[in-house]
Symmetry: C2
Subunit: 268 residues, 2 copies
DNA sequence: CAGTGGTCTAGACCACTGG
DNA sequence: CAGTGGTCTAGACCACTGC
């Protein structure tokens, strides 16, 4: 039964009934629960674009039928995807593909807050695109983006100001191929988080990121753009952002002025 | 049946069967799933010290019997407590109260890593207690610790060095009452994370923390302790650490030298 | 081998949303 | 009202640990 199922185990004999011959031979157990397999299949639907950002995915009962498993198993797969912020559950409405657009929780990856802790107190950020050009990847950028040194990249430089005070200077490197057609105009005209534009215009959804933070002093050019003195220490925030499958899709280096702001982090 | 149960709903009629009269009157629904109530009860056992760090809690079946609910409901409560790092599950062995002692994952709250990313490359940190004295809480410290300004606090200053290079200067404020008896000797002699000592000696377990990070320049005294120049920018890391119940139990201000290290953060 | 946590099922009912 | 996610149960079997 369920001969067409792409899954390892049979629905009539749950959970890899009787360790498979393969597993018995391999030194690595390679045991994978059913819900992990369903999760992997759902990830493919997200990655392939079958399920688009902000749209609803099939109901739990639908998916249970499609995958020939019980609702509870689908539930557990969705639970994990929701915990990773790939899906959003809304009781009574359905389960939706997460997005960087819409919602209050814009700027999900920006951890800089004004001293009073209330982002709304200073209104929306003013964004100025300083530069947007094609260039070639340095060895460092290439390594971070998992491409070859010298490959084409798009390079963006911008300044974010809060309450008219220049506060963030960012240099951004993007692989040229997925982001073909990105221009300064498009960045300037778009009203919303940059990652939302990446989703809608280029089908690239940033899923997670890692940041390395240091304290630095700005050089002359950076001082000019941020209108600071060369003796004012700044936060250097190096970010690598990843799409599905842990594929790096952006390198970003931010310089944060922390005289009236701080970088907030929660330790659990 | 189950007349002795401390829970809201009856095991024969699951999940608040028929919205309670109280809830119908109150404007706030005040609906709480069974597993949340079990979770709260388990939190009490942790908080009261009935279940001690690193020891095993009763098995899921035991708890299910004790609370007169099914194993699945207990499971969901434990799942959440494990996700919050309060419990640790070990298949085949049991569920254990998490601790800052033992295990590789020491220094869970320290996010500073050497440039090569491998904490083991530079060996264990050398710790030097510079000072440990009784004093009175400033208004800032008092607010953070939820005590009154002028209340007694313990103040600790220490320097951490990696590969003999002074790298972290920390000022720590602790409420005097729970930490009565803490001395410089005890801190110096103890071999392990400070939070592990807090657990074993004072029964205070740090559960989570929040950090505010800025870039600063050191003053003369800080320069002397870290052996740096006054023009070397440093990371200022202000931490408030909380025990159970979101009760703040420590304020800490760290100065991190980031010439050969970086503060790592994962964005999800 | 017994005991633990981990997975899976089938079915029931509840809470929430929208037409 | 139908449809969705959310909770709860009862029971079965699997994977892992240690005696």
């Amino acid at each position: 039964m369920s001969a067409m199922s792409a899954l390892t185990s049979d629905s009539a004999t749950p959970a890899n009934a009787g360790t498979s011959p393969v597993a018995a031979v391999l030194s690595a157990p390679a045991f994978s629960p059913l819900y992990q397999q369903i999760k992997a299949l759902m990830l493919q639907s997200l990655q392939s674009g079958e399920w688009k950002p902000s749209s609803a995915i099939p109901s739990e009962m639908d998916l249970a039928g499609r995958f020939k498993v019980s609702q509870g198993t689908v539930r557990k797969a969705i639970d994990e995807l929701a915990a990773e912020n790939l899906l959003v559950r809304r009781q009574g409405k359905g389960t939706f593909v997460a997005t960087h657009a819409e919602h209050q929780v814009q700027y999900r990856f920006l951890k800089l807050f004004p001293d009073d802790g209330d982002p709304s107190s200073e209104g929306p950020a003013q964004r100025r695109i300083v530069d947007c050009k094609r260039s070639r990847a340095s060895t460092e950028v290439a390594r971070a983006l998992a491409i070859r040194a010298g490959d084409a990249v798009l390079q963006v430089r911008r300044v974010l100001s809060f309450a008219t005070v220049p506060t963030i200077l960012e240099d951004i490197w993007l692989p040229a191929t997925p982001f073909k057609g990105l221009t300064a105009e498009r960045l300037t005209d778009y009203d919303g988080p940059m990652y939302a534009l990446f989703e809608t215009e280029f089908g690239v959804r940033m899923v997670r990121a890692e940041e390395k933070i240091r304290a630095v002093l700005p050089d002359a050019q950076q001082c000019a753009l941020l209108k600071t003195k060369p003796t004012t220490p700044l936060l250097s925030v190096e970010r690598i952002a990843y799409t599905y499958n842990d594929a790096p899709m952006e390198v970003r280096r931010g310089l944060y002025l922390t005289e009236r702001h701080y970088y907030r982090n929660a330790l659990n």
